[in-house]
Protein backbone atom coordinates (compact mmCIF):
# COMPACT_ATOMS: atom_id res chain seq x y z
CA UNK A 1 0.00 0.00 0.00
CA UNK A 2 1.62 3.21 -1.11
CA UNK A 3 0.88 6.90 -0.97
CA UNK A 4 1.36 7.91 -4.55
CA UNK A 5 3.46 11.04 -4.06
CA UNK A 6 7.24 10.61 -4.26
CA UNK A 7 6.94 6.92 -3.55
CA UNK A 8 6.37 7.58 0.14
CA UNK A 9 4.69 4.63 1.79
CA UNK A 10 2.86 4.37 5.09
CA UNK A 11 5.94 2.89 6.73
CA UNK A 12 8.03 5.94 5.83
CA UNK A 13 5.24 8.17 7.05
CA UNK A 14 5.09 6.37 10.41
CA UNK A 15 8.87 6.53 10.75
CA UNK A 16 8.76 10.24 9.94
CA UNK A 17 6.14 10.85 12.63
CA UNK A 18 8.27 8.84 15.08
CA UNK A 19 11.38 10.87 14.29
CA UNK A 20 9.36 14.08 14.48
CA UNK A 21 8.14 13.05 17.93
CA UNK A 22 11.69 12.44 19.16
CA UNK A 23 12.88 15.75 17.73
CA UNK A 24 9.91 17.48 19.33
CA UNK A 25 11.07 16.20 22.72
CA UNK A 26 14.59 17.49 22.05
CA UNK A 27 13.13 20.83 21.02
CA UNK A 28 11.23 21.03 24.30
CA UNK A 29 14.38 20.16 26.23
CA UNK A 30 16.30 22.94 24.51
CA UNK A 31 13.37 25.36 24.60
CA UNK A 32 12.70 24.99 28.34
CA UNK A 33 16.25 25.91 29.28
CA UNK A 34 16.27 28.73 26.74
CA UNK A 35 13.07 30.05 28.28
CA UNK A 36 14.46 30.56 31.77
CA UNK A 37 18.16 31.14 31.04
CA UNK A 38 18.12 32.68 27.54
CA UNK A 39 20.78 30.14 26.77
CA UNK A 40 20.86 27.93 23.69
CA UNK A 41 22.30 24.71 24.99
CA UNK A 42 24.38 23.42 22.14
CA UNK A 43 25.59 20.60 24.40
CA UNK A 44 22.10 19.10 24.59
CA UNK A 45 23.07 16.40 22.08
CA UNK A 46 25.98 15.36 24.25
CA UNK A 47 23.57 14.71 27.11
CA UNK A 48 21.75 12.35 24.79
CA UNK A 49 25.09 10.85 23.77
CA UNK A 50 26.03 10.22 27.40
CA UNK A 51 22.70 8.50 27.95
CA UNK A 52 23.27 6.38 24.85
CA UNK A 53 26.70 5.32 26.15
CA UNK A 54 25.10 4.35 29.45
CA UNK A 55 22.67 2.13 27.54
CA UNK A 56 25.50 0.64 25.48
CA UNK A 57 27.55 0.07 28.62
CA UNK A 58 24.67 -1.85 30.18
CA UNK A 59 23.89 -3.68 26.96
CA UNK A 60 27.47 -4.90 26.43
CA UNK A 61 27.53 -6.34 29.92
CA UNK A 62 24.31 -8.15 29.26
CA UNK A 63 22.44 -6.18 31.89
CA UNK A 64 18.65 -6.15 31.44
CA UNK A 65 16.76 -3.10 30.20
CA UNK A 66 15.42 -2.58 33.71
CA UNK A 67 18.98 -1.69 34.73
CA UNK A 68 20.10 -0.03 31.51
CA UNK A 69 17.32 2.54 31.32
CA UNK A 70 17.60 3.75 34.94
CA UNK A 71 21.37 3.96 34.43
CA UNK A 72 20.78 6.09 31.33
CA UNK A 73 18.45 8.41 33.27
CA UNK A 74 20.88 8.60 36.17
CA UNK A 75 23.84 9.51 33.98
CA UNK A 76 21.94 12.12 31.95
CA UNK A 77 20.37 13.77 35.00
CA UNK A 78 23.66 13.89 36.86
CA UNK A 79 25.36 15.44 33.86
CA UNK A 80 22.53 17.97 33.41
CA UNK A 81 22.75 19.13 37.00
CA UNK A 82 26.54 19.30 36.74
CA UNK A 83 26.30 21.38 33.56
CA UNK A 84 23.85 23.68 35.33
CA UNK A 85 26.08 24.19 38.36
CA UNK A 86 29.41 24.48 36.58
CA UNK A 87 28.43 26.32 33.40
CA UNK A 88 24.88 27.67 33.25
CA UNK A 89 24.56 29.36 36.64
CA UNK A 90 27.96 31.02 36.77
CA UNK A 91 27.33 32.44 33.29
CA UNK A 92 23.74 33.51 33.97
CA UNK A 93 23.10 37.03 32.75
CA UNK A 94 26.09 37.05 30.42
CA UNK A 95 25.60 37.90 26.78
CA UNK A 96 23.95 35.19 24.65
CA UNK A 97 27.15 34.91 22.59
CA UNK A 98 29.24 34.09 25.67
CA UNK A 99 26.76 31.46 26.79
CA UNK A 100 26.49 29.90 23.34
CA UNK A 101 30.27 29.61 23.00
CA UNK A 102 30.44 28.14 26.50
CA UNK A 103 27.95 25.42 25.61
CA UNK A 104 29.93 24.75 22.42
CA UNK A 105 32.95 24.19 24.60
CA UNK A 106 31.00 21.83 26.85
CA UNK A 107 29.76 19.93 23.80
CA UNK A 108 33.25 19.37 22.46
CA UNK A 109 34.61 18.58 25.90
CA UNK A 110 32.03 15.83 26.41
CA UNK A 111 32.61 14.51 22.93
CA UNK A 112 36.36 14.34 23.57
CA UNK A 113 35.82 12.57 26.87
CA UNK A 114 33.64 10.01 25.10
CA UNK A 115 36.37 9.54 22.50
CA UNK A 116 39.03 9.03 25.18
CA UNK A 117 36.98 6.67 27.30
CA UNK A 118 35.17 4.62 24.69
CA UNK A 119 37.28 5.05 21.52
CA UNK A 120 36.21 6.12 18.06
CA UNK A 121 34.69 2.81 16.95
CA UNK A 122 31.58 2.97 19.01
CA UNK A 123 29.63 0.68 21.27
CA UNK A 124 26.45 -1.19 20.57
CA UNK A 125 23.30 -0.55 22.55
CA UNK A 126 21.20 -3.50 21.51
CA UNK A 127 18.90 -4.14 24.46
CA UNK A 128 15.86 -2.60 22.83
CA UNK A 129 16.59 -3.74 19.28
CA UNK A 130 13.36 -5.76 19.21
CA UNK A 131 11.48 -2.47 18.95
CA UNK A 132 12.76 -2.23 15.39
CA UNK A 133 10.58 -5.14 14.39
CA UNK A 134 7.39 -4.26 12.63
CA UNK A 135 3.83 -4.84 13.67
CA UNK A 136 1.19 -5.18 11.02
CA UNK A 137 -1.73 -2.79 11.32
CA UNK A 138 -4.41 -3.32 8.67
CA UNK A 139 -1.95 -4.62 6.15
CA UNK A 140 0.74 -2.02 6.80
CA UNK A 141 4.02 -2.91 8.46
CA UNK A 142 5.00 -0.27 11.00
CA UNK A 143 8.10 -0.45 13.16
CA UNK A 144 7.22 -0.65 16.85
CA UNK A 145 9.67 2.14 17.67
CA UNK A 146 7.70 4.58 15.52
CA UNK A 147 4.60 3.86 17.59
CA UNK A 148 6.44 3.81 20.92
CA UNK A 149 8.23 7.08 20.15
CA UNK A 150 5.04 8.83 19.11
CA UNK A 151 3.02 7.64 22.10
CA UNK A 152 5.83 8.32 24.55
CA UNK A 153 6.45 11.81 23.18
CA UNK A 154 2.74 12.61 23.31
CA UNK A 155 2.63 11.38 26.91
CA UNK A 156 5.71 13.42 27.92
CA UNK A 157 4.31 16.56 26.31
CA UNK A 158 0.94 16.07 28.01
CA UNK A 159 2.59 15.69 31.42
CA UNK A 160 4.71 18.76 30.73
CA UNK A 161 1.70 20.84 29.72
CA UNK A 162 -0.11 19.81 32.90
CA UNK A 163 2.96 20.69 34.95
CA UNK A 164 3.34 24.09 33.32
CA UNK A 165 -0.35 24.99 33.39
CA UNK A 166 -1.54 23.46 36.63
CA UNK A 167 1.28 23.65 39.16
CA UNK A 168 2.90 26.46 41.06
CA UNK A 169 6.40 25.72 39.83
CA UNK A 170 4.96 25.54 36.30
CA UNK A 171 3.45 29.00 36.64
CA UNK A 172 6.72 30.29 38.04
CA UNK A 173 8.59 28.79 35.09
CA UNK A 174 6.26 30.39 32.60
CA UNK A 175 6.55 33.75 34.33
CA UNK A 176 10.33 33.48 34.48
CA UNK A 177 10.44 32.73 30.76
CA UNK A 178 8.41 35.88 30.08
CA UNK A 179 10.12 38.29 32.47
CA UNK A 180 12.61 36.79 34.89
CA UNK A 181 13.47 40.06 36.60
CA UNK A 182 9.90 40.83 37.56
CA UNK A 183 9.30 37.23 38.62
CA UNK A 184 12.23 37.48 41.02
CA UNK A 185 10.99 40.80 42.37
CA UNK A 186 7.73 39.06 43.21
CA UNK A 187 9.58 36.43 45.20
CA UNK A 188 9.78 33.65 42.62
CA UNK A 189 12.77 31.48 43.51
CA UNK A 190 15.18 31.75 40.58
CA UNK A 191 17.20 28.72 41.61
CA UNK A 192 14.16 26.51 41.87
CA UNK A 193 12.81 27.58 38.50
CA UNK A 194 16.12 27.05 36.73
CA UNK A 195 16.63 23.76 38.54
CA UNK A 196 13.21 22.52 37.43
CA UNK A 197 13.85 23.50 33.81
CA UNK A 198 17.25 21.79 33.79
CA UNK A 199 15.84 18.69 35.44
CA UNK A 200 12.94 18.31 32.99
CA UNK A 201 15.25 19.05 30.09
CA UNK A 202 17.56 16.28 31.34
CA UNK A 203 14.69 13.81 31.76
CA UNK A 204 13.67 14.45 28.16
CA UNK A 205 17.26 13.97 26.96
CA UNK A 206 17.29 10.57 28.66
CA UNK A 207 14.01 9.59 26.99
CA UNK A 208 15.46 10.72 23.65
CA UNK A 209 18.63 8.70 24.29
CA UNK A 210 16.57 5.54 24.77
CA UNK A 211 14.54 6.18 21.61
CA UNK A 212 17.50 7.12 19.41
CA UNK A 213 19.57 4.06 20.38
CA UNK A 214 16.75 1.93 19.08
CA UNK A 215 16.96 3.71 15.73
CA UNK A 216 20.77 3.87 15.76
CA UNK A 217 22.22 1.20 18.05
CA UNK A 218 25.82 2.14 17.21
CA UNK A 219 26.87 4.73 19.80
CA UNK A 220 29.82 6.89 18.74
CA UNK A 221 31.17 10.14 20.22
CA UNK A 222 29.19 12.14 17.66
CA UNK A 223 25.97 10.34 18.54
CA UNK A 224 22.95 12.69 18.32
CA UNK A 225 25.15 15.54 17.09
CA UNK A 226 23.46 15.72 13.70
CA UNK A 227 20.08 15.38 15.36
CA UNK A 228 20.85 18.28 17.70
CA UNK A 229 21.87 20.53 14.83
CA UNK A 230 18.70 19.66 12.99
CA UNK A 231 16.58 20.23 16.10
CA UNK A 232 18.25 23.59 16.74
CA UNK A 233 17.44 24.53 13.15
CA UNK A 234 13.91 23.32 13.73
CA UNK A 235 13.57 25.31 16.94
CA UNK A 236 14.73 28.50 15.23
CA UNK A 237 12.47 27.62 12.33
CA UNK A 238 9.45 27.24 14.56
CA UNK A 239 10.21 30.24 16.75
CA UNK A 240 12.58 30.02 19.68
CA UNK A 241 10.60 32.26 21.92
CA UNK A 242 7.64 30.06 22.60
CA UNK A 243 7.79 26.52 23.79
CA UNK A 244 4.87 25.52 21.60
CA UNK A 245 6.32 26.95 18.41
CA UNK A 246 9.77 25.56 19.21
CA UNK A 247 8.23 22.12 19.74
CA UNK A 248 6.29 22.31 16.47
CA UNK A 249 9.50 23.38 14.73
CA UNK A 250 11.31 20.36 16.17
CA UNK A 251 8.55 18.06 15.06
CA UNK A 252 8.42 19.61 11.59
CA UNK A 253 12.12 19.17 10.94
CA UNK A 254 12.09 15.60 12.25
CA UNK A 255 9.08 14.77 10.15
CA UNK A 256 10.58 16.39 7.03
CA UNK A 257 13.87 14.66 7.68
CA UNK A 258 12.20 11.26 8.02
CA UNK A 259 10.07 11.81 4.95
CA UNK A 260 12.93 13.01 2.74
CA UNK A 261 15.16 10.23 4.05
CA UNK A 262 12.56 7.73 2.89
CA UNK A 263 11.87 9.45 -0.40
CA UNK A 264 15.43 10.07 -1.57
CA UNK A 265 17.16 7.20 -3.29
CA UNK A 266 19.72 5.60 -0.99
CA UNK A 267 22.70 6.84 -3.01
CA UNK A 268 21.49 10.43 -2.60
CA UNK A 269 20.63 10.39 1.07
CA UNK A 270 23.80 12.31 1.90
CA UNK A 271 22.11 15.35 0.35
CA UNK A 272 19.36 15.20 2.96
CA UNK A 273 20.81 17.85 5.30
CA UNK A 274 21.40 20.10 2.31
CA UNK A 275 17.74 20.00 1.40
CA UNK A 276 16.65 20.54 4.99
CA UNK A 277 18.92 23.47 5.69
CA UNK A 278 18.04 25.06 2.36
CA UNK A 279 14.41 24.82 3.42
CA UNK A 280 15.23 26.32 6.84
CA UNK A 281 17.05 29.27 5.26
CA UNK A 282 14.20 29.83 2.85
CA UNK A 283 11.62 29.85 5.65
CA UNK A 284 13.67 32.20 7.79
CA UNK A 285 14.10 34.63 4.91
CA UNK A 286 10.33 34.71 4.47
CA UNK A 287 9.39 34.58 8.19
CA UNK A 288 12.33 35.71 10.33
CA UNK A 289 10.28 35.39 13.52
CA UNK A 290 9.70 31.72 12.95
CA UNK A 291 7.15 29.56 11.20
CA UNK A 292 4.77 29.06 14.11
CA UNK A 293 4.81 32.47 15.73
CA UNK A 294 1.98 34.90 15.46
CA UNK A 295 2.28 37.86 13.16
CA UNK A 296 3.88 40.90 14.74
CA UNK A 297 5.49 38.92 17.52
CA UNK A 298 9.12 39.68 18.13
CA UNK A 299 11.67 37.03 17.23
CA UNK A 300 13.52 37.39 20.51
CA UNK A 301 11.93 38.72 23.64
CA UNK A 302 13.63 41.49 25.55
CA UNK A 303 15.87 39.98 28.23
Amino acid sequence: MTVAVLGINWQTLADAVGLGAIYALMAVGIGLVFGVLRLVNFAYGQLVMAGAYALAFASERGWPVSVGIPLCFGVVLLLSLLMDRVVFRPLRGQSPAVMLVATFAVAFLLQSIALLWFGPLGKIAASLATLNQPVTISGVDIRKIAIVATVLAAFCLLVLVLLLERTRVGLHMRAAAMDFRTAELLGVRAGRVIGAAVLISGLLAAVVAVMLTVQTPLVTPDFALRDTILVLAGVVLGGMNRLVSATLGGFAIGFASGLLGGALPTNQSQYLPTFLFAAVILVLVIRPGGLFTREGQQAVERV
Partner: protein
Protein backbone atom coordinates in the same frame (compact mmCIF):
# COMPACT_ATOMS: atom_id res chain seq x y z
CA UNK B 1 2.06 53.55 64.70
CA UNK B 2 5.40 51.86 65.24
CA UNK B 3 6.38 48.23 65.50
CA UNK B 4 7.95 46.49 68.46
CA UNK B 5 10.55 48.70 70.14
CA UNK B 6 9.67 51.50 67.73
CA UNK B 7 11.78 50.06 64.91
CA UNK B 8 10.69 51.48 61.54
CA UNK B 9 9.42 48.95 59.00
CA UNK B 10 11.88 50.31 56.46
CA UNK B 11 15.08 52.16 57.23
CA UNK B 12 17.52 53.38 54.59
CA UNK B 13 20.83 54.59 55.95
CA UNK B 14 23.49 56.45 53.97
CA UNK B 15 22.56 54.60 50.79
CA UNK B 16 24.96 54.88 47.85
CA UNK B 17 24.11 53.47 44.44
CA UNK B 18 26.45 53.59 41.46
CA UNK B 19 25.84 52.54 37.88
CA UNK B 20 29.35 52.18 36.54
CA UNK B 21 31.03 55.55 36.90
CA UNK B 22 27.76 57.36 37.53
CA UNK B 23 26.60 57.84 41.10
CA UNK B 24 22.83 57.58 41.14
CA UNK B 25 22.22 57.91 44.89
CA UNK B 26 24.52 59.64 47.41
CA UNK B 27 24.14 59.08 51.12
CA UNK B 28 20.37 58.85 51.19
CA UNK B 29 18.72 58.18 54.54
CA UNK B 30 15.01 57.81 55.17
CA UNK B 31 12.60 55.87 57.31
CA UNK B 32 9.09 54.60 56.79
CA UNK B 33 7.00 53.47 59.76
CA UNK B 34 3.91 51.32 59.73
CA UNK B 35 0.80 53.26 58.80
CA UNK B 36 2.83 55.92 57.08
CA UNK B 37 3.20 57.05 53.48
CA UNK B 38 6.51 58.63 52.62
CA UNK B 39 6.80 60.31 49.24
CA UNK B 40 9.99 60.36 47.21
CA UNK B 41 9.85 62.98 44.50
CA UNK B 42 12.31 64.69 42.23
CA UNK B 43 13.21 65.26 38.60
CA UNK B 44 13.99 62.49 36.12
CA UNK B 45 17.28 60.79 36.89
CA UNK B 46 17.29 61.99 40.49
CA UNK B 47 17.85 58.46 41.75
CA UNK B 48 14.30 57.59 42.84
CA UNK B 49 14.02 54.30 40.95
CA UNK B 50 17.62 53.43 41.81
CA UNK B 51 16.70 53.78 45.48
CA UNK B 52 13.80 51.36 45.11
CA UNK B 53 15.91 48.88 43.16
CA UNK B 54 18.61 49.04 45.83
CA UNK B 55 16.04 48.40 48.57
CA UNK B 56 14.74 45.36 46.66
CA UNK B 57 18.24 44.04 46.07
CA UNK B 58 17.91 44.32 42.30
CA UNK B 59 21.05 46.48 42.32
CA UNK B 60 23.73 46.10 44.95
CA UNK B 61 24.35 49.34 46.85
CA UNK B 62 27.89 50.69 46.79
CA UNK B 63 27.45 51.71 50.41
CA UNK B 64 25.01 52.24 53.24
CA UNK B 65 22.39 49.99 54.74
CA UNK B 66 18.78 48.98 54.14
CA UNK B 67 16.91 47.47 57.08
CA UNK B 68 13.51 45.84 57.05
CA UNK B 69 12.14 45.55 60.57
CA UNK B 70 15.60 46.31 61.85
CA UNK B 71 17.27 43.52 59.89
CA UNK B 72 19.70 44.41 57.13
CA UNK B 73 18.76 43.12 53.67
CA UNK B 74 21.80 44.45 51.84
CA UNK B 75 23.35 41.76 49.65
CA UNK B 76 20.14 39.72 49.60
CA UNK B 77 18.56 38.68 46.33
CA UNK B 78 15.23 40.31 45.29
CA UNK B 79 13.37 37.04 45.90
CA UNK B 80 14.62 37.04 49.51
CA UNK B 81 13.80 40.70 50.09
CA UNK B 82 10.30 40.02 48.75
CA UNK B 83 9.98 37.14 51.19
CA UNK B 84 10.93 39.47 54.05
CA UNK B 85 7.73 41.38 53.41
CA UNK B 86 8.76 44.04 50.91
CA UNK B 87 6.61 44.28 47.78
CA UNK B 88 7.37 46.45 44.78
CA UNK B 89 4.89 47.84 42.28
CA UNK B 90 7.40 48.36 39.49
CA UNK B 91 7.58 51.21 37.04
CA UNK B 92 5.57 50.44 33.93
CA UNK B 93 3.54 47.93 35.97
CA UNK B 94 5.34 44.87 34.60
CA UNK B 95 2.23 42.79 34.32
CA UNK B 96 2.53 39.36 32.72
CA UNK B 97 0.40 40.21 29.71
CA UNK B 98 0.08 36.67 28.41
CA UNK B 99 -1.05 35.27 31.75
CA UNK B 100 -4.53 35.69 33.18
CA UNK B 101 -5.24 38.21 35.90
CA UNK B 102 -5.64 35.32 38.32
CA UNK B 103 -2.24 33.87 37.38
CA UNK B 104 -0.68 37.28 37.89
CA UNK B 105 -2.14 37.34 41.39
CA UNK B 106 -0.91 33.79 42.04
CA UNK B 107 2.58 35.00 41.16
CA UNK B 108 2.16 37.70 43.79
CA UNK B 109 1.71 34.93 46.35
CA UNK B 110 5.30 33.81 45.70
CA UNK B 111 6.53 36.48 48.09
CA UNK B 112 4.24 35.57 51.00
CA UNK B 113 5.83 34.85 54.34
CA UNK B 114 2.94 32.83 55.72
CA UNK B 115 0.74 30.31 54.01
CA UNK B 116 -2.44 31.03 55.96
CA UNK B 117 -4.86 33.81 55.22
CA UNK B 118 -4.57 33.81 51.41
CA UNK B 119 -8.33 33.79 50.90
CA UNK B 120 -8.91 36.67 53.34
CA UNK B 121 -6.11 38.77 51.91
CA UNK B 122 -7.30 38.17 48.36
CA UNK B 123 -10.83 39.14 49.42
CA UNK B 124 -9.61 42.42 50.88
CA UNK B 125 -7.61 43.17 47.74
CA UNK B 126 -10.66 42.49 45.57
CA UNK B 127 -12.75 44.79 47.77
CA UNK B 128 -10.16 47.48 47.19
CA UNK B 129 -9.98 46.87 43.42
CA UNK B 130 -13.30 45.37 42.21
CA UNK B 131 -12.15 45.73 38.60
CA UNK B 132 -9.42 43.18 39.22
CA UNK B 133 -11.90 40.63 40.55
CA UNK B 134 -14.22 41.15 37.58
CA UNK B 135 -11.36 40.60 35.12
CA UNK B 136 -10.07 37.50 36.93
CA UNK B 137 -10.21 35.13 34.01
CA UNK B 138 -9.05 37.55 31.34
CA UNK B 139 -5.56 37.78 29.90
CA UNK B 140 -3.84 40.59 31.78
CA UNK B 141 -2.69 42.11 28.49
CA UNK B 142 -6.27 42.86 27.51
CA UNK B 143 -6.75 45.17 30.51
CA UNK B 144 -6.61 48.95 30.14
CA UNK B 145 -3.63 50.82 31.57
CA UNK B 146 -5.57 51.85 34.66
CA UNK B 147 -6.80 48.31 35.26
CA UNK B 148 -3.27 46.98 34.83
CA UNK B 149 -2.01 49.43 37.42
CA UNK B 150 -4.65 48.25 39.84
CA UNK B 151 -3.64 44.67 39.09
CA UNK B 152 0.00 45.53 39.74
CA UNK B 153 -0.88 46.94 43.16
CA UNK B 154 -3.22 44.01 43.86
CA UNK B 155 -0.44 41.59 42.92
CA UNK B 156 1.87 43.26 45.40
CA UNK B 157 -0.79 43.28 48.14
CA UNK B 158 -1.72 39.59 47.99
CA UNK B 159 1.82 38.91 49.18
CA UNK B 160 0.68 40.47 52.48
CA UNK B 161 3.71 42.76 52.64
CA UNK B 162 4.75 44.99 55.48
CA UNK B 163 6.48 47.49 53.22
CA UNK B 164 5.00 48.56 49.91
CA UNK B 165 7.21 50.31 47.37
CA UNK B 166 5.56 52.00 44.40
CA UNK B 167 7.45 53.32 41.38
CA UNK B 168 5.39 56.04 39.69
CA UNK B 169 2.02 54.32 39.94
CA UNK B 170 0.16 57.26 38.40
CA UNK B 171 2.29 57.39 35.26
CA UNK B 172 0.16 57.58 32.14
CA UNK B 173 -3.16 57.17 33.96
CA UNK B 174 -6.36 59.13 33.47
CA UNK B 175 -7.04 61.62 36.30
CA UNK B 176 -10.01 59.57 37.50
CA UNK B 177 -7.83 56.47 37.84
CA UNK B 178 -5.10 58.47 39.57
CA UNK B 179 -7.69 59.49 42.19
CA UNK B 180 -8.67 55.85 42.58
CA UNK B 181 -5.06 54.75 43.07
CA UNK B 182 -4.30 57.43 45.65
CA UNK B 183 -7.50 56.63 47.49
CA UNK B 184 -6.55 52.96 47.60
CA UNK B 185 -3.08 53.82 48.89
CA UNK B 186 -4.69 55.76 51.72
CA UNK B 187 -6.79 52.74 52.66
CA UNK B 188 -3.72 50.49 52.51
CA UNK B 189 -1.81 52.83 54.81
CA UNK B 190 -4.66 52.77 57.30
CA UNK B 191 -4.24 49.02 57.51
CA UNK B 192 -0.79 49.60 58.92
CA UNK B 193 1.45 49.13 55.92
CA UNK B 194 4.57 51.21 55.43
CA UNK B 195 4.44 52.83 52.00
CA UNK B 196 7.27 54.43 50.08
CA UNK B 197 5.81 56.22 47.10
CA UNK B 198 8.00 57.38 44.22
CA UNK B 199 6.09 59.88 42.12
CA UNK B 200 6.39 62.47 39.38
CA UNK B 201 3.31 64.36 40.54
CA UNK B 202 5.17 66.39 43.12
CA UNK B 203 2.48 68.63 44.51
CA UNK B 204 -0.13 65.94 44.77
CA UNK B 205 2.34 63.64 46.51
CA UNK B 206 3.42 66.31 48.99
CA UNK B 207 -0.22 67.01 49.84
CA UNK B 208 -1.02 63.32 50.18
CA UNK B 209 1.99 61.73 51.92
CA UNK B 210 2.80 62.05 55.61
CA UNK B 211 6.08 63.59 54.50
CA UNK B 212 7.89 63.82 51.21
CA UNK B 213 11.58 63.85 50.43
CA UNK B 214 12.81 65.74 47.41
CA UNK B 215 15.66 63.93 45.69
CA UNK B 216 17.87 65.67 43.16
CA UNK B 217 21.07 64.32 41.63
CA UNK B 218 21.00 61.47 44.07
CA UNK B 219 20.83 63.61 47.16
CA UNK B 220 18.04 64.43 49.57
CA UNK B 221 17.46 68.15 49.21
CA UNK B 222 14.34 68.85 51.19
CA UNK B 223 11.67 67.22 53.33
CA UNK B 224 8.15 68.58 53.18
CA UNK B 225 5.02 67.89 55.15
CA UNK B 226 1.52 68.05 53.64
CA UNK B 227 1.14 71.60 54.95
CA UNK B 228 3.80 72.81 52.52
CA UNK B 229 2.03 71.47 49.43
CA UNK B 230 1.36 75.03 48.34
CA UNK B 231 4.95 76.06 48.83
CA UNK B 232 5.89 75.83 45.17
CA UNK B 233 8.98 77.99 45.55
CA UNK B 234 10.66 75.58 47.95
CA UNK B 235 9.79 72.69 45.68
CA UNK B 236 11.11 74.36 42.56
CA UNK B 237 14.37 75.39 44.16
CA UNK B 238 14.88 71.87 45.52
CA UNK B 239 14.23 70.43 42.06
CA UNK B 240 16.75 72.77 40.50
CA UNK B 241 19.40 72.17 43.17
Amino acid sequence: MTGPLGIPALAVDGLEVRHGAVTAVRGLSLQVRRGEIVGLIGPNGAGKSSTLHAIMGAVRPAGGDVRVDGISVVGRRPEDVARRGVALVPEGRRIFAELTVEENLLLGLAGRRRREGVAEDTRRVFDLFPVVEEARRRKAGTLSGGQQQQLAIARALVADPEVLLLDEPSLGLAPRVVDLVFEALGAIRDRGLAILLVEQRAQRTVAFADRSHVLSQGQLRLTLGPESAGDTDALVSAYLA
